[in-house]
Symmetry: C2
Subunit: 312 residues, 2 copies
């Protein structure tokens, strides 16, 4: 890991994601890394950023609605991280734009990228070159600054989706920041990112929410819940995720998500036909394929198969 | 916990389920419980039961195909447990029937019950009163006797689905056996059992297998797997389950499973329409309901809501 130094980092939304970045840059740096940069939090509510300061996650905070505070916070900032819900990207960037120094790099942590880039172009206009889209893939069900961990990103993937307008130096700087958290940084296009995440993250969340919803609608829901065991527990763990965040993701990434959902529904219809026909051989073959792929994925430590690469 | 004593317990299929029962009855019993019963394993392959004997899980074993060995094993048995795949119920019981003492109680551990009862009626004929259908709800992905644990059933649900022909004394004896493993024993009808399990266990397995299958079919499958993270891991943990076992369950419980699958597909279609329409309010409301139910379930320790009962 390389040390990463900065003068001033401004984080909009100091919850799990923003708080963990601040803690990682603070707590994972070698003592001799020299100067310790200032971390400023900006939040919708004062209470959340106050709590972040109490916990020592940030040094000070600014109120988003106060021009003077916001100008002070952003003056001379090296990096601005947006770690608020993706739906707030455009209003946030519109609010930030007038106070943005030329040398400041803005990045984000949104789970979807097409919508974020559209919002950023609308809000930043000619300053779009200063915006490097990013996505640290490191969610937990728990949220809020109390759940922030210095090791949240260690060994996890962070995707950067550089824009044609970005300078290589700016992209390298954001990459260095994430590398200092222990993350693995990978680059791909905005479209590729959204398709991949729709498949392995957004779709499973929708499917998990849907199962709980379906049981809730059953006349014997209580009885069913009382016999739910380990399989149900793991399958529905992500159904305890933030409704607001997942509403935004579903709306923001709807095109890619609908494509994955339809492909999934087609597979499910095929399995349904095999169940109805009592076609044990077809079911066993499909289950065996899935088991093999899932087991191999686990054995690789959740990594790609040999030879796989984002450019593929 | 009450001590449970027996003279001879015969287990057909000494894997995770059968092996854990044997270990629980051995290792959880107080020293002063008196006489230690004999546990005999019967397996399709000699190697698996030999391994169980080496591990001390059973005292001796018999080959299913050897009449003399099977007669000896079953003579004077208090209890016979079938812990082999459900599809083997009828051939196994047909094989056992000629050697069955009048006082022996047969029970099973099958994940489905309608098909098991049909098979038992066909195989046992007038001896059906000796068969008490059961289902310990305590799967793990790992299987085989090496995975057997004395505490596998502690705090878990075991369902008994007594038949009209069963004597209350026989049902009480099987209940006492499971109580000695630390399990919570509950009774319900065969139909109720199959509907509940289709909903909270069988359907999630099919949905999980289907997700891995769908990703496998994608042209960028490797890339997708390489970005799969914690949500995917938990959602698909059960897709590493035994293809043979889940084939049998899907076929055996197809009526109840199709009903749950169709109800699920309807919920999914509703969520799809909301995603397509960009109806954030509908999505958030559904996700919030699911999150609330899932969180409350977790807080109850995975139990029913107050007032819920199997007779409901």
């Amino acid at each position: 890991m390389t040390a990463f130094s900065f003068n001033k980092l401004v984080i909009f939304g100091v919850g799990l994601i923003g708080g963990s970045l601040a803690r990682a840059l603070r707590e994972r740096q070698p003592e001799q890394a020299g100067q310790r940069g200032t971390v400023i939090g900006v939040g919708r509510s004062v209470s959340s950023v106050e709590r972040a300061r109490e916990l020592g996650v940030i040094d000070s905070f600014a109120a988003i609605g106060d021009d003077a505070q916001l100008r002070d916070a952003l003056a001379g900032a090296d990096i601005v991280l947006l770690a608020a819900p993706v739906a707030q990207t455009q209003p946030l960037l519109t609010r930030i734009a007038p106070f943005l120094d030329d040398a400041t790099i803005v990045t984000d942590a949104g789970s979807t990228k097409s919508d974020v880039v559209t919002a950023a172009r609308a809000a930043l206009g000619p300053r779009i070159n200063q915006f490097v889209p990013g996505h640290p893939i490191a969610g937990r069900e728990s949220s809020g600054v109390e759940a922030a961990l210095p090791e949240l990103y260690a060994g996890r993937n962070v995707v950067l989706c550089p824009l044609p307008e970005n300078s290589p130096a700016d992209v390298a700087r954001i990459e260095a920041m994430w590398l200092a958290t222990g993350a693995v940084v990978r680059q791909m296009s905005v479209e590729q990112h959204d398709r991949v995440l729709a498949s392995v993250s957004h779709l499973p969340h929708v499917l998990s929410f849907a199962l709980v919803e379906q049981i809730l609608e059953a006349p014997d829901a209580d009885l069913k819940f009382s016999f739910a065991a380990g399989g149900f527990r793991d399958f529905t763990r992500i159904a305890a995720s933030s409704p607001e965040m997942w509403r935004d993701i579903c709306v923001a990434n709807r095109a890619a998500l609908l494509e994955e959902l339809d492909a999934y529904t087609a597979v499910l219809a095929r399995l349904r036909a095999a169940i109805e026909a009592g076609d044990g051989a077809a079911l066993e073959a499909a289950f065996a394929r899935s088991r093999k792929a899932r087991t191999e994925w686990q054995e690789r430590g959740g990594k790609a198969a040999a030879g796989a690469s984002p450019s593929k």
